[in-house]
């Protein structure tokens, strides 16, 4: 199911992105800590350190880019000419790409665990659960993006680029709409339904993407 050398390879390939995520998060963390008045028992409101929206854009663009990049530069052919199954390649790419997205979202609340109680806001336990839920949503979006690009990105079909551009446009529009309705509050209000929905969507897109990847022709695209 998972080839460890391949997963290590993919993570190594993406290490600069990992460092980027860490740096981004660290910058925000330091900024938040700067807001604390020394000596004052003012809690840090971790709900404000929310990378959900940043993570969404990341999931949309990275989900497809990880796969399509490999088709365009020909490295997918290099990988699949080795004795690894397509399923193992799919899993290693999805895991290597998905891990930083999850971490991006849940790291603030995980870090808050290390702080003394008087520094964290009273919302903290609920916040960790909310972050976890959000990360499941992000993974579903990431898998949807991968799925769209797998169906369009490895072909010279006339309308492939149009479909990709439409997908990005539609996804961004939905995100803006969700932001208006305040997605975190929506998820918080219906946690179980949200979890079920995101898990179902995630499983569906994972299955579709894998189905497509295991059956597609591996051809290097010129453009």
């Amino acid at each position: 199911m998972i080839s460890r050398p391949l997963l290590r390879w993919e993570i190594r390939r993406l290490r600069w992105w990992y460092y980027g995520v860490l740096l981004f998060w660290l910058g925000n963390f330091i900024f938040t800590l700067c807001l604390i008045v020394p000596g004052q028992p003012v809690p840090v409101h971790w709900e404000h350190v929310d990378f959900l929206w940043f993570g969404m854009f990341w999931a949309i663009f990275w989900g497809g880019g990880l796969f399509v990049g490999k088709f365009r530069d020909g490295t997918m052919e290099f990988l699949l000419a080795r004795p690894v199954s397509r399923r193992e390649v799919y899993h290693s790419i999805v895991l290597a790409g998905g891990i930083p997205i999850v971490f991006l979202v849940i790291l603030p609340s995980l870090f808050a665990l290390t702080l003394p109680p008087w520094k964290t806001s009273h919302l903290f336990p609920g916040l960790l659960a909310l972050n976890l839920l959000e990360s499941v949503w992000l993974i579903a979006v990431f898998l949807l993006s991968a799925c769209v690009y797998l169906f369009t990105g490895n072909s010279n079909r006339r309308y492939a680029r149009f479909i990709e551009a439409s997908f990005i446009g539609a996804a961004v529009a939905v995100l803006i709409e969700l932001q208006k309705t305040n997605l975190p509050q929506l998820i918080q209000a219906h946690p179980l339904a949200s979890l079920l929905l995101s898990l179902t969507a995630g499983c569906l897109f994972y299955g579709l993407g894998r189905w497509r990847f295991e059956r597609m022709d591996i051809r290097t695209n010129s453009g």
């Binding site: 391949l6 530069d73 020909g74 000419a81 004795p83 690894v84 597609m216 022709d217 290097t220």
Partner: protein, 307 residues
């Protein structure tokens, strides 16, 4: 699986891209321990065939067995025993050569580090260099080293000498000869460098528009494919194109050029019956035969289309 099973066996192999067959009902049999040259003009289906053997492309129809295993169902097991050099070399440009070796070593059960190091030395491949810094020729050599590293039972080489100078080409051929000396190994080579092919191949297959139009041992091919330049004192016999072995009759000035596929003695016997006829038998190189077949099939196709 038995050892007598051919290295590659395809039956009715078909691959269609956008309604056009790239490989069309291909029945290919490559015996174990042979160097099989897959020849054909551009777009004949050579690269597609090689990619089908590796399951990089999914066959539209037909059966593929590689080293006695189903190349579609057991593709991972097949690739464990197969080395592959692609036509165009595309690696991770920012990765170092040694990192690629390291990855391959962790994926193959029989990676031969010693051999890889030796070839790197011979080909002057710097292990610490980034792949993106290598020249086209060096990339070709790197691909070749990666292909022989896992000690494959079957080596699939798609244009292995692309971008190489004559010295390096010689070295590559030497490498292949060495590889063949290592036991029951099979090489399938697709190349337009026909002189190189002639040096190492022992069997040749011609592909044209996805169909295998010829598959024969090289020695037999060179022995049977001849041309006879004839000068008839009068008009040539009307049934000449129908003589046994005659594939094509072309006019060359006042002479006729008869392309033969076997039956040389019989044709010469018939020619001798004509008084005053003058002829000479011409040997052909693999390149001549390649051009002859490709051109001949083209003529036949055009004639078929006109009918």
């Amino acid at each position: 699986m038995t050892m007598s099973e051919p290295a590659v066996l395809t039956r009715g192999l078909t691959k269609i891209f956008g309604g056009q067959p790239a490989v069309d009902g291909l029945d290919l049999e490559v015996p174990r321990g042979s160097v099989f040259a897959l020849l054909g003009p551009n777009g004949a289906g050579k690269t597609t065939t090689i990619k089908l053997l590796l399951n990089l492309l999914q066959p539209t129809d037909g059966e593929i067995r590689v080293l006695g295993q189903d190349a579609v169902k057991d593709s991972v097991a097949v690739r464990r025993r197969v080395g592959y050099q692609a036509e165009t070399q595309r690696f991770y440009p920012r990765v170092r050569v040694e990192e690629l070796f390291c990855l391959c070593k962790s994926l193959y059960p029989r990676w031969n580090t010693e051999r890889v190091t030796r070839y790197c030395r011979i080909f002057e491949l710097p292990p610490h260099a980034r792949v993106g810094e290598l020249s086209k020729g060096k990339l070709t050599l790197l691909a070749l080293v990666l292909a022989v590293g896992p000690e494959p039972e079957l080596l699939l080489l798609d244009e292995p000498a692309t971008g190489l100078d004559p010295l390096r080409r010689r070295q590559v051929l030497q490498l292949l000869v060495e590889e063949m000396a290592g036991g029951d190994r099979t090489i399938i080579i697709s190349s337009h460098q026909l002189q190189d092919v002639e040096r190492i191949a022992d069997r040749v297959g011609f592909l044209l528009r996805g169909k295998l139009i010829l598959s024969r041992p090289l020695e037999q091919l060179l022995g049977e494919e001849k041309k006879v330049r004839v000068l008839f004192p009068g008009s040539p016999p009307a049934d000449l194109p129908g003589w046994p072995g005659v594939r094509r009759v072309a006019r060359e000035g006042s002479h006729l050029l008869i392309s033969l596929s076997g039956h040389l003695d019989e044709v010469l016997g018939r020619l001798n019956r004509y008084e005053g006829v003058a002829f000479e038998v011409l040997d052909q190189t693999l390149e001549d035969i390649f051009v002859e077949y490709a051109a001949g099939e083209e003529v036949n196709r055009e004639a078929g289309e006109n009918d």
